[in-house]
Symmetry: C2
Subunit: 350 residues, 2 copies
């Protein structure tokens, strides 16, 4: 039996030490989140890009489907726009606009700025667990969350970030190894411009030694073998779940990928993120143009990602994925993923 | 008790599933190798840069100190020189020659080319285990090794490389995660110019699923926690062992480093290798000059590394190290490292 992680399971009120990662931008439907929680893991709604009314709707829908705990994942602090270099970036994107037949709009770009409201809704609707990427909740948010008994989880990619997160009040730390898919949770870039890329096998024990709060392992984990050593957060395998809202072509790209397929790039969003290398990444990086900062660059590439999704063309979508995709070949139910991971871990420990 | 790896322990004739990595260029003294083997792990002589007479001497010395099995690590196939771009590289190195007061020599560079002889000596002296980096033993070497009952271990950094290594006769595969220190064992560079950088947590299960031979985990493992899941190969912690031949300043740099200190660079040897970032790496990479291929570039930088070693200046030495150095703060005996790793793993499994 798995017994190493009873403390953190108790802290989060879950049965199994499996957390579905809070992947913003589509995959984490209310159905996926509820299925994972109902199966005994912790479902997480990736809410950072949601409109406030959609967040309310999703929370209600999750509660309708399960009475188990779940988490909402936010960006913190809320990223601010900077479009000062927009002309240069649009210039670099011209060939792609042309190829995808996107009629360029001279409309003023502006990224949605609901971060503050999303956080308020979580408190108002008594979301039991809030997790964040890109840093800690700002002090006033942390204080209100704590006052209300919310459990706060902060993502870190280095020992230094983990210590800072603990100092700022995190109840648990997600240690995100370099294997992980999607955005790097990094928030210190002084030593490495793309954030530190420390593999989980090296990162996990060093973070665990440094902090006193429970540490959750993330990155490269897609089956029960990773579970043997740690409480884990699983991303990509849930992107490819039946209940995931990810585009069909995105799921297919995951099934077609292997351990070498991904790269860390800023070309889609302006922040380093791991995804399957496709023509967009190759083409943008070959231009030598620095992307805008996040979230502005993400807002600029939205038209392209949208047109690609509409056309079912994975070459210009952001195909966030980690390095553990080799065994993923078809959609599975989310509950099935949780139970098969547990079965495999139990068999290994027996 | 640790029981997952009895098969591979039996294959190698060792008591504990801990392999000391075959680190060429100084750290693996005969004393270190013998200590690790005598303590129940597998000591490995990093022989690739040794002169033939030194290899003979070291094998005799290891045998004098222990009757347990040990391995010799070689480069395979034997790398060949190419000095066609030597003038450009020397130009880039000028400021460093000046700073270290190296009087430039117009002598013809030539890398030692003993690979064939080193292999013959291993057979002649009945070395029980040969492990290789950079690829598989060439077919004729593989055949002679097998005919003599030698166990052959090949390092791989991707599933494709592991399958190729198995196809060419490897009895076991070292799966080297991106966390690992020193040279990447990569031998396929078509998809990634620096070799694939797949973290161990993602790489290990995918390699294990793909091949039928035992898989040894390498990269980011420096204590008993990594041991719980796998047969492991440990590098950096043994570089910093009392018995290691590594320079005092190199060991100190390891003690001073953390999980963010290293980068993968070709600037010292012409092949991608992970080491602590220092002024040499920064300065050479900022020149924008491509290094020569291996081993030629390694030969060219030898004067600089030699002068730095003589001066005790770690800024111009190659400080190969992995990402798991955070807990290393002082020299330990090699036998002590083996037994403390086993104690820790046992405690975790109890």
């Amino acid at each position: 039996m798995i017994s190493l992680n009873t403390d953190i399971c108790r802290l989060l009120g879950i049965e199994y030490p499996i957390i579905q990662a809070g992947m913003a931008g589509g995959p984490t439907t209310a159905e996926l989140v509820a299925e994972v929680s109902d199966a005994g893991g912790l479902g997480t709604l990736g809410a950072a890009y949601l409109a406030p009314e959609k967040l309310r709707e999703d929370i209600l829908e999750i509660r309708k489907r399960t009475n188990k705990p779940f988490a909402v994942n936010l960006f913190a602090p809320v990223p601010k726009d900077d479009f000062s270099r927009i002309d240069e970036v649009k210039q670099a994107l011209q060939p792609i606009y042309k190829e995808l037949a996107i009629e360029e709009q001279n409309a003023e770009y502006r990224s949605p700025d609901h971060g503050e409201e999303l956080f308020r809704i979580c408190l108002e609707m008594n979301v039991p667990i809030i997790s964040t990427a890109f840093g800690s909740l700002p002090p006033e948010h942390m204080a209100s969350a704590k006052a209300q008994g919310v459990t706060v989880i902060t993502m870190a990619t280095t020992v230094g970030e983990a210590l800072e997160a603990q100092g700022k009040g995190a109840d648990a730390i997600v240690a995100q190894g370099s294997e992980a898919g999607g955005h790097r949770g990094s928030f210190s870039f002084d030593r490495h411009p793309m954030g530190a890329q420390v593999g989980l096998m090296a990162l996990l024990p060093q973070v665990a030694d440094a902090v006193d709060v429970p540490v959750i392992a993330a990155g490269g984990i897609a089956d029960g073998r990773g579970l043997v050593a740690a409480l884990v957060q699983v991303g990509t395998r849930f992107v490819a779940a039946k209940e995931s809202g990810a585009h069909k072509a995105y799921k297919q790209a995951i099934f077609d990928s292997d351990e070498e397929s991904t790269v860390v790039t800023k070309s889609f969003s302006g922040r380093p993120a791991r995804g399957i290398k496709n023509r967009f990444i190759e083409q943008f990086e070959s231009m030598g143009t620095q992307p805008l900062s996040f979230p502005s660059h993400n807002t600029v590439t939205k038209e392209i990602r949208g047109a690609a999704a509409k056309a079912g063309n994975p070459e210009f979508m952001s195909l966030w994925a980690g390095q553990a995709t080799g065994a993923m070949t078809q959609e599975e139910g989310a509950a099935e993923i949780v139970s098969s991971m547990m079965d495999q871990a139990r068999a290994l420990l027996r």
